[in-house]
């Protein structure tokens, strides 16, 4: 196991808890980047320790802040409830049982009118997170580097076409995970890259045959 010194002395964050405050903000911010759309309501289903102790650790403020796009070190984090109201965004929290091997879990559901879009994930401690489901599609996104999430039909050749386009754009693939719900059904690639990904690449990927959806999460490791 290799450990970055900047993770030992870090993250720089708003207190009081790296798992319950910083991790919560990062998880919600990542969820918003994955959703990448308009919303007027957001709901947070909290599981495990999040459900038990969220008020004491300002997990609620951190989640709303993240959903508004704030980072874990944003000094406006404590004002997130007011900022949401100013933007006309309503929010609520409720307990939710989420099947997970992790202790701090949340389902974050964005509503544009009545249309929901949800992201599930966990705070792993030390400010690290893992997204485990996007609208029911199981996945593993840690969002420590710029990440491309491609949903596609489970047929031959799509992964190859996608990686070709990334290579043509000078993007090196760090880690690539491929999965699917059922054979021949919907599949996905989670591609963690070394460089920030230009939105134009997303448009190019969407044109690939059998690609259903493309999401780009440009979270830099600072």
């Amino acid at each position: 196991m290799s450990v970055s010194l900047l993770d030992v002395v870090g993250p720089v964050m708003i207190g009081p808890s790296s798992s319950h405050t910083a991790g919560a903000a990062k998880l919600a911010k990542t969820a918003r980047l994955i959703y990448n759309g308009q919303f007027d309501r957001v709901e947070f289903g909290l599981g495990g320790s999040f459900a038990q102790t969220y008020r004491g650790h300002f997990t609620d403020y951190a989640l709303v802040a993240g959903a508004l796009g704030m980072s874990e070190d944003d000094e406006n984090l404590s004002r997130s409830f007011d900022l949401a109201k100013e933007q006309g965004i309503s929010f609520r929290f409720y307990p939710r049982d989420i099947q997970s091997e992790y202790e701090n879990t949340a389902r974050i559901t964005f509503y544009n009118g009545d249309t929901p879009f949800y992201v599930e994930g966990a705070s792993l401690g030390g400010g690290r997170i893992l997204v485990t489901s996007i609208n029911g599609l199981a996945c593993e996104v840690s969002a420590t580097t710029p990440t491309v999430i491609v949903q596609q039909r489970d047929v031959a050749g799509v992964v190859s076409d996608v990686s070709t386009i990334l290579a043509q754009n000078g993007i090196n693939i760090g880690i690539m995970k491929v999965g699917r719900d059922t054979r021949g059904g919907t599949a996905y690639c989670i591609i963690e890259c070394d460089e920030i990904i230009d939105p134009a690449v997303s448009a190019e990927l969407r044109k690939v045959k059998n690609v259903l959806n493309v999401t780009i999460v440009n979270i830099k490791a600072e």
Binding site: V9, V12, M13, I14
Partner: protein, 288 residues
Amino acid sequence: MYKNGEDLLRLAKEQGKRVWEVALDEETKLTAMTRERVMEHFSNRLDIMFNSARKALEHKQNTKGGLVDGVASTQYNYSHGNTITGGYINKVMSLAYSCSEVNASMGKICASPTAGSCGILPAVLLGVMEDKDVPRETVLEALITASAVGAIYTMNATVAGADGGCQAECGVASSMAAAAAAYMMGADDDKCFDAAGFAMINVMGLVCDPVAGLVALPCAHRNASGAVGALVAADMAMAGQVAHIPFDQVVDSMFKVGKMLPPQLRETAQGGIATTPAGLAIYKEIFG
């Protein structure tokens, strides 16, 4: 990549470098960042640490539950008077308190290694720097040395209170800070690791028992005592006290002790001072 303290000390001797230089080389490889960029990150972190260590000295912060509002200014005001351990020690305590107070009031801090223990390393770095006129460059080298100590705990033990109790948070922070203090005072790397070992040995078994589950009480007090404990440990090493137990074995034993702790004493607020009548009354008052 080095796996433990022995590796790191051996690599440093082989390469004719200090431990912080070897650790910095490894960091540039791991993160694919330039040396300058990594140093910039450390420098920014040091600024954030110092800001949080100064912020509450004269300005009381409002924390959730109000348990630690004003702990920093209380100690800081007292430090100017007739104290038992002297103005310097009391100042270091107040710097650590300040970070904890800022953390508990949703202020900006740098986790080192965790948010709950974020006061210890800044208090020692800033306290020693100001008292002994240590140049900033040396302080940054000490910070990297401390980070390497923390990385060894992360790799071979734990820095999560939920896994290892407070010894894994304030204990590790104190151990890191002891190495940094010794470094700033001109100790060689062996002595820095001896200091790190003494600091951990002196608090081994410390339980995590947050009142009402908040990162406040006893966390703030343990940050203050952890910072002083780091200075004491560094002085033990600098005086030449013999570390009969090698640092890496101290790390292993801390991990084993952490596993032996029952869950009630690992950040669940179900034991220790959290479940005293007074602790339970505070819980009831805050959360109803």
